[in-house]
Amino acid sequence: MEKKYGIIVFICFCVFPYFAHGQSIDVETLKQIRLPMYLAKGLEWKGESTQNTTWSKITETSDGKIWFCGGDHWGIDEITGKWDKSDRYERPWGFGNTTLCYYDPMQDQSFEELELNSTSAIYSNEQTPGHGKIHANIVTDSKDRLYFAGYMGYSFIHEYTDAYFPKSYAGGALIKYDPSTKHAEYLGIPVPYGAVAAMYYDEKRDIINGISVDRAKFWRVKVSTMELNRYESVARMSRLKDRVREMIMDNDGYCYFANDVGGLTKFDPDTQEFMDLDIVLPGKLMDFRASVVSSMNTIYGITTDGFVWSFNPNTNELKDLGHIIGMPDQSHYTPNIALDEKWERLYFIAGTHGYGLLEEAFGVLTILDLKTGKYYWAGKIEGFEGCFGALCSKDHEVYFNSFGRFYEGDQIQKDKSGQPITRPYLLKYSPPEDLNELD
């Protein structure tokens, strides 16, 4: 009798949190789904692509093209894929490089546009690392010009000095690129030796705002005058043990950073003053790992541990929109978010490579209906390993900048030795207008 009682108590203890927080994911009933994949092209070596990762936020130009990227991820942290470090003596670009690509919906194909190392005048060689990825946002202005910057994995764990030149990573180079003329302008490196973790372009002021990965230093470059301002480590947030990866810029050019007291620090672009907002973000980490701003200037964000929130800068009203898989006690790393304003939805791929997550809910296409507050878990994406950028186009198609196993038709792509390989690609999701079709 005592044993049975113990079992009942144990079961209640395990199950209660799931009921207590309302709607939560049922991992047992999740179906597998396969989405169209569009490869990041370029960087071929010995007849194969060397690319295996992508970490940037993505953007759409007025012609409907979706701009994303892929990289070989080479950096301090690791040499991913089947390659080893000795290849750097032979590869034309040494080690660490990235391509900017686009997906053209008219042709339903992806294309390579440029390669980042040579565009930024940083010639990586066997000793000097290049930009193994773009981590920050790829952004566009009203004239469809693109702005992006370089990154090298784990550059933040090592303190770079001129002492070890040329082994140092030079730093995240800023590029302004006009696809219509193919003209690339290298704008320099805002924080020497520091990779760029996040950035936005404030077109009204002609200023690029960004943060470095090492110590989360905030910087701004006025493009017309090339005036650079560097500020303190305002985005430092020590609850994240390694580094901060995100900042937000609203439609008025105000920038936001998660801070060490659990709220947001707001930067006024005109007075250049910082102010802590009297709000507390949800979750244990109280931060944001992805964000999107609506045309009405409402900020939507998701924390590193999976709490979705919205914030109105005009009223300072913060709303907790629930946990991405309905399990507030279960961290679920989701560094991507897309907004469909017309259909009033947020899209995510919940659970991705990185910070703590529920393994059974890895790579789940998730929809939050903002009208009802209801979450829909559409299924687990086949081949998926990670996604760090997403957007919803005007025609309601949703794009995820992802990496993972690549399918061509029903066949998984393999390398020359027959092993499945990881590739960066854009995933495209065509959602139903009626979400009840997903039930």
Binding site: A216, E227, R230, R243, V261
Partner: protein, 411 residues
């Protein structure tokens, strides 16, 4: 039974290994993770210490067992504070700007007779540049009585960069900023005295931000009441004979830094001791590399351990003989900005650039070994370290939302 125990142990071991790997991968370069804790000094938007007001400038262990700290306002914030911390919690003491409007920085703290805390104030470089600042104050805070006394302005329009206490004679010495004048203030008579400019500072604009370099950052006082500091002198370098031109100069005038000067008690003017701090030759006249003393602490043999600004050398200075002994450096960076003794009698040092990562370094006085122990966190940017009586080392951060990082030795 044995099998059952083994099975029960497998999962915890896997979890432990996972976490150990995680910790290692996230904290490369860090001090032993198990021995670090932290206390937030900033209280957030509600205050009393708001964001931007918590950059710690100094820490000092007082006889009541509390560590007393000072802050400065950064990036447009307006208030600086005194606080205290016992290793677990932080308590706000006083908003110093509320007491002395316009003062946004407490730049230094010292302790005097009767366990009274003395401090000096300053403000932003941008305000000093506009020349509409009333001047930095000296103040006294009595922790026992919880009273604060404003001792007044030292030099009109000038902040105070650093201070030292001759507690035997009841005299505070301080250096003004940016003017670089050495002053004394007699606690009993309240008479202040200007010993003149000891450094003509460089005005530097770096990324649009103005600052002055070369102004002494540390004052040392020995038992005889002699004050020591490092500064620059003009040196004349003869022009090569083959480069001499008719009517042209016969020499170049260059700044030579790291010269240790002294002002003996009763003297009217500081004089060069003949001692020069360890320097990397060829950089000491560069405006971006201040060649001076960043930190000093009294040694048991009558000397002073000192750290240099631009090269990060540890050296010992013997006032009685004006001798400098270079002990080397533990890492490639400059700025050995704070020193303290651990309970293991080793000398602990804080190194790192002004607005960058900070490392804890260690010098074993017995073996002469000098080591870099790592950083408290890969985002920590600290200004000062102090040890308490229990062997804990406190790091004071100087960020918008600053922590005191607490490193427990021997764990």
């Amino acid at each position: 039974m044995k099998n059952s125990i083994q099975h029960k142990l497998v999962l915890p071991i896997i979890i432990l290994l996972f976490h150990a790997t995680n910790v290692f991968s996230q904290r490369m370069g860090g001090l032993d993770a198990g021995s670090i804790s932290k206390v937030l000094i900033s209280n957030g938007p509600q205050g009393p210490i708001k964001g931007g007001e918590s950059a710690v400038t100094d820490l000092i262990l007082m006889p009541d067992g509390w560590m007393y700290g000072s802050t400065k306002a950064t990036w447009g914030a307006q208030n600086c504070h005194l606080f205290r911390i016992d290793g677990e919690k932080s308590e706000h003491i006083i908003n110093m700007t509320g007491q002395m409007p316009g003062q946004t920085t407490i730049s230094n703290l010292v302790v005097g007779k009767g366990s009274v805390l003395y401090g000096c104030t300053s403000t932003y470089n941008e305000i000093l540049d506009k020349k509409d600042y009333e001047g930095g104050h000296l103040f006294a805070y009595n922790p026992g009585k919880k009273t604060m006394d404003d001792l007044g302005i030292i030099q009109q329009g000038q902040g105070i960069n650093c201070m030292a206490m001759d507690s035997i004679r009841g005299i505070i010495y301080c250096i003004t900023y940016p003017a670089g004048h050495l002053f004394s203030y007699h606690l009993e008579t309240k008479i202040k005295k200007d010993f003149g400019q000891v450094m003509q500072p460089w005005r530097v604009e770096d990324l649009g931000r103005v600052s002055w370099r070369g102004v002494p950052k540390v004052l040392i006082v020995d038992d005889a009441g002699t004050v020591y500091f490092s500064t620059y002198v003009h040196e004349k370098v003869p022009v090569w004979k083959q480069e001499l031109m008719d009517g042209g100069p016969s020499y170049y005038s260059v700044y030579a830094g790291g010269r240790i000067f002294r002002l003996a008690f009763g003297d009217e003017k500081p004089v060069f001791t003949g001692a020069t701090i360890p320097s990397q030759k060829g950089m000491d006249s560069d405006q971006l590399y201040e060649n001076g003393i960043a930190s000093a602490i009294r040694a048991s043999d009558g000397g002073f351990w000192c750290g240099t600004i631009n090269d990060g050398f540890l050296f010992k200075f013997y006032p009685s003989t004006s001798t400098v002994i270079n002990k080397g450096k533990a890492f490639q960076y400059w700025n050995l900005k704070s020193l303290c003794y651990g309970t293991d009698e080793k000398l602990y040092m804080l190194g790192g650039r002004d607005e960058d990562n900070s490392w804890l370094l260690c010098y074993n006085q017995v073996t002469g070994s000098i080591d870099c122990l790592g950083w408290p966190d890969n985002t920590s940017q600290c200004n000062v370290i102090v040890a308490d009586k229990n062997g804990k080392i406190f790091f004071g951060e100087n960020l918008r939302h600053s922590f005191i990082w607490i490193y427990t030795l021997n764990k």
